[in-house]
């Protein structure tokens, strides 16, 4: 078999693989372009500024890289008389000095202007406080006008069109607060308050994450972000400020009693009851949240029961112990009671 035949056969085998692989190569990055947790799907003005900075830098860097690589190949493979111009003083001065100086002189102020304009505090911003804890988020909405203050956990509900200022800190170790669709990340440092400013422009559900390794369950420390129309947000805020509703049926009342007798209230708050613990998340309206376990599971009776019985298997290292000794009936009652706290 001669060389040409071998090469042709080899190409015949490699080409389909390359076509398929090439498709996958495009599919993977494009799949990450949109969604609830993507910096490539901006949902606010600051996020758009960062997005365009990224695009300009990436596309520009790619074009320059391809151009320089082409020149390099030309310098290696072109006949000496044709590539001679590459080594002239003019080429070096214009291509090697003037071009990078002009490019960087344009990019530097552009980057600085983006840095100045994003994350700028705005008057009349809605104030929200978020405290990072291993491995969940304590979220507090301070009183504003006639609106009473309240706390929630693992969810950030915001109105669209209104500036938001999130003041962040941490209770134990350094965490980092990041909602990719709304802009840059900000460190949460114990003993220090940092602020993150943004405005949501598009209603929807987004996902925030901890962006600084904070312990064994760092990867399971996420939160939901709900950007609502202003009227919807006001209604949500009024509901959240209310105490927990009374159980509607005896089965749920049994759940509440088990919650009380099991000592859950020494770690959790349920406003309107004697449960006033401060170690764990506020559960006053836990039933209204989309997810449980800091963004780990959809919120329903089944996942709540699984969480209560098996938390140390699901999220080892979390401060809550597993209550695996509860009977199925008791577990269902407690989970039902929590799910009813809308």
């Amino acid at each position: 078999m001669d060389f040409e035949t071998t090469l042709t056969r080899l190409r015949g085998r490699i080409d389909p693989v390359l076509r398929c692989g090439g498709g996958l190569l495009w599919a993977f990055p494009l799949a990450g372009c949109s969604g609830v947790q993507s910096a490539l799907d901006p949902a606010g003005g600051d996020a758009w500024d960062l997005y365009w900075l990224t695009i300009v830098m990436t596309v520009g860097a790619t074009l320059i890289f391809v151009f320089v690589t082409a020149l390099l190949l030309y310098a290696v493979f072109a006949p000496p008389e044709r590539r001679a111009w590459l080594g002239t003083r003019r080429t070096i001065v214009y291509g090697g000095l003037a071009f990078p100086i002009v490019t960087l002189s344009l990019l530097l102020p552009y980057g600085l202007i983006v840095m100045r304009d994003v994350d700028a505090p705005q008057p009349g911003a809605l104030q929200i406080e978020v405290i990072g804890e291993q491995y969940w988020w304590r979220v507090r909405y301070p009183a504003e006008g006639e609106q009473a203050e309240f706390s929630t956990a693992n969810e950030l509900v915001i109105p669209i069109g209104r500036p938001i200022t999130v003041s962040v800190t941490a209770a134990d170790v350094i965490h980092s607060f990041w909602i990719p669709n709304f802009g840059g990340k900000i460190d949460m440092i114990p003993g220090r308050i940092n602020r993150f400013n943004f405005t949501a422009e598009r209603p929807g559900i987004y996902r925030g994450i901890c962006a600084e390794f904070c312990g064994a369950q760092h990867a399971r420390m996420a939160f939901d972000v709900m950007a609502l129309e202003p009227a919807e947000f006001d209604a949500w805020r009024r509901t959240q400020a209310q105490p927990a509703p009374e159980p509607a049926i005896p089965f749920l009342a049994r759940g509440r009693d088990l919650f009380r007798s099991g000592g859950c209230g020494s770690c959790h708050v349920v406003r309107g009851t004697e449960a006033n613990g401060q170690l764990g998340p506020d559960l006053t309206h836990v039933g209204s949240r989309r997810t449980i376990g800091a963004g780990q599971f959809p919120n329903n009776v089944g996942t709540l029961a699984g969480w209560i019985a098996n938390v140390q298997q699901i999220k080892p290292g979390a401060k809550m112990p597993s209550y695996g000794s509860l009977t199925g009936e008791d577990l269902r009652a407690i989970a039902g009671y929590l799910e009813s706290l809308k």
């Binding site: 100086i101 960087l104 002189s105 530097l108 102020p109 600085l112 202007i113 840095m115 100045r116």
Partner: protein
């Protein structure tokens, strides 16, 4: 190394020294002034932090410009004397390094015009 050669090397590297001095001074001054809570203090009607950055930048910029002019003269002097390779090389290096240092000093000073102090 002879005294002339030492002077040539120092001339060729002078711009980088100016850049290093500017870098150290503006970072040091900004950290110290911001750390002491002087973000809003003013001097000659401008903020004390921008003042420190701009004055340092101006002084080092002038130094780098003078070095660049001297380097140009040296380069012109040795350009037509092919027998002295080392002199020609050092003078060309001086033009390049002092020119790039001048631009780097300018770039270092740009944030003072765009970013708020101590933000």
């Amino acid at each position: 190394m002879t005294g002339r050669r030492t002077a040539q090397v120092l001339l060729a590297l002078g711009g980088m020294f100016a850049w290093a001095v500017q870098f150290a001074l503006i970072y040091g001054a900004t950290s110290t002034l911001c750390g002491r809570g002087w973000a809003d203090a003013t001097l000659l009607a401008i903020g004390v932090v921008p003042f420190a950055i701009l004055s340092t930048t101006l002084v080092t910029l002038v130094a780098a410009a003078i070095l660049l002019i001297v380097s140009f003269r040296e380069e012109r002097r040795w350009r037509d004397q092919p027998s002295s390779t080392a002199d020609a090389f050092l003078s060309q290096t001086g033009v390049l390094i002092n020119g790039l240092s001048l631009i780097a000093i300018l770039w270092n000073g740009v944030p003072a015009f765009i970013l708020p102090a101590c933000a």
